[in-house]
Amino acid sequence: MATDKKPIPLEFEQPLAILAQNMDALEKQLSDNPELEADLDRMQEQYSSLKRSLYLNLRPIDHLAIARHPQRPYTRDYFAAWDPNWIELHGDRKGVDDAAMVGGLLELDGIKVVAVGTQKGRTLRDKQQCNFGMPQPEGYRKALRLFRHANKFKLPILCLIDTQGAYPGIAAEEHNQSQAIAENLMELAGVTVPVVAAITGEGGSGGALAIGVANRILMLEHSVYSVITPEGCASILWRSNDKVSEACQAMKMTAKEILQLGVIDQVIKEPLGGAHHDHQSVAANLKIAIVEQLQELLKLSPQEVRQHRQDKFRAFGSFR
């Protein structure tokens, strides 16, 4: 995992980064001027109080920035951290292996699961291969065949979601992106095994929901979940690209807000500043939560677990 690298500061973290730089500079001089120690201590205190207040008052767009942080742990990082011997399964069996959708067999504290998740890619080459985490229809069909596999062998399904959405492209339309997503929605609604989904970064629209019809849905603290990307929303409703912050605010897309709307079940805490500061602890916390949820769901009979999921989604909506 990429924890050894220093976290790249985000735009709203700039004051913090400047302070840290000053502290570094001061530290270098410390060996020559020991009397600077008191200053350094003071700065240290200032740094931590600024950090606390900064992360306490995050705007929705700041959460989005953290959710999109290039050093944020991705699906493969989680899989590898949870089960170093996980078995990757490739391909949709129809001609394509979409790297944006990762699938495999994992063991989490003794619970065997079929896991799928969207993968963004770390290096430029990776990113291109993974299409920046935006699956083609073939990616959803790969997930679909794994869902069917899980249902056949009575294995619970785990989905990790971190995608801006399904890819909008010529080939994607030609190969019927809509149908691929719709079929996944229907299939997940009907499986008789427990399904747990976790949004680890961006939960973007139908492309996220296509692997998100779960009995229990978890979200990391700084992750977001929305019906359209805030950029898309801003350009459609405000007809302007500079209203992204307003769109983030209006759509109520942060983990806390989504929890309040009753769409998800649990928010998992991240280390101060976001998951990219400490991959190890985020992976551990998320695993504990997932295992807890799975253990509870495994107490239900196959029919009950299916009914539970259908009832859950049946209830969503607000009307008079």
Binding site: P168, A172, E173, I181, G206, I228, F319, R320
Partner: protein, 318 residues
């Protein structure tokens, strides 16, 4: 007749003539005439209407509203609306440049509808069918909580009545103003359609100009049969979004019904004037399992049990 009278009546006639020859206002003119978007032919509105809003010259299919659609598909006076009073609330207190509640009122004023879908039970050539029609004229046909709920309840009604289900889709996608709850409607409708499918129900989805986004990626694409109207644009992502993403011009026929047909995404492209007959034929073709219901229905209506003597629909297999 007195000569004076003759002059008076002559004068009157001239006045009437003058009234008639006065040019029509633009509004009156537009109400009377329409220009075809495709071939530019001027069409007399009344003729256009009798031709189901299809250009008689070039077969261009004009967009039609939910009410017209119901009139075209359902047998006369057979449509009984479900959940007619259901209205959206404003779960997010959404405000962009205007409040969502205000936009809703505006949309209703423009379309004359409460929501972007009308659902109900009707008869199509005598066969009881659950029918939902979306209306692009109301809020771009977007799917919020109400559209999702109405389609879900319609499907549940179809399960209960063991009747086939038809949904005429026309939508710009999910309704952003209801945020994540709109997205969840995709899962909700797909989930109930799974139950419907497991119960052996026949679902026919009709895609009309335009069908996009969250609606296409849920119930629109889940039909046992998917029928598209000629020339309708259907897709997941909008043309502009794709062009901006890939920075390429797209072919002219991209995402049209015919393009979808070529790429194996729809069963057939059916002209509006053949649509009702096609639906009726598809329903009768799959009648065998649903015929139990007909007998049940009749026996409850006729206490002396003459139900079985009712003529069976053509092609029904028992």
């Amino acid at each position: 007749m007195d000569l004076k009278d003759w002059f008076a009546s002559r004068q009157k006639r001239r006045e009437i003539q003058e009234v008639i020859t006065q040019p029509l206002t633009t509004e009156e003119y537009c109400a009377l005439w329409k220009q075809c978007f495709q071939c530019r032919e001027l069409l007399y509105t009344r003729d256009l209407r009798t031709n189901l809003d299809v250009c008689p010259k070039c077969d261009y299919h004009f967009r039609i509203g939910a009410l017209d659609r119901i009139e075209q598909l359902a047998d006369e006076n057979s449509f009984e609306e479900l959940d007619a009073d259901m209205r959206s609330s404003d779960p997010l207190n959404f405000f962009d440049t205007e409040a969502y509640t205000k936009r809703q009122d505006e949309a209703s004023r423009k379309s004359g509808l409460r929501e972007a879908v009308l659902t109900g039970i009707c008869k199509i050539e005598g066969q009881t069918t659950a029918l939902g029609c979306m209306d692009f004229g109301h809020f771009g046909g977007s799917m919020g909580s109400v559209v999702g709920e109405k389609v879900t309840r319609l499907t549940e009604a179809a399960i209960e009545r063991k009747s086939p289900l038809i949904v005429v889709c026309s939508s710009g996608g999910a309704r952003m103003q209801e945020g994540i709850l709109s997205l969840m409607q995709m899962a909700k409708t797909s989930s109930v359609l799974k139950s419907f499918s497991d119960a052996g129900g026949l679902y026919i989805s009709i895609l009309t100009e335009p069908t996009f986004g969250g609606v296409t990626a849920s119930f629109a694409m889940l039909g046992d049969f998917i029928i598209a109207e000629p020339g309708a644009r259907i897709g997941f992502a909008g043309r502009r979004v794709i062009e901006q993403t890939i920075r390429q011009k797209l072919p002219a026929d991209f995402q049209t019904a015919e393009y979808l047909l070529k790429h194996g995404q729809v069963d057939m492209v059916v002209s509006r004037n053949k649509l009702k007959a096609t639906l009726a034929r598809l329903i009768t073709f799959h009648q065998s399992s649903a015929s139990e219901l007909e007998i049940e229905d009749n026996s409850s209506e006729n206490s002396n049990g003459q139900g079985s003597s009712e003529p069976k629909p053509l092609g029904a297999r028992n």
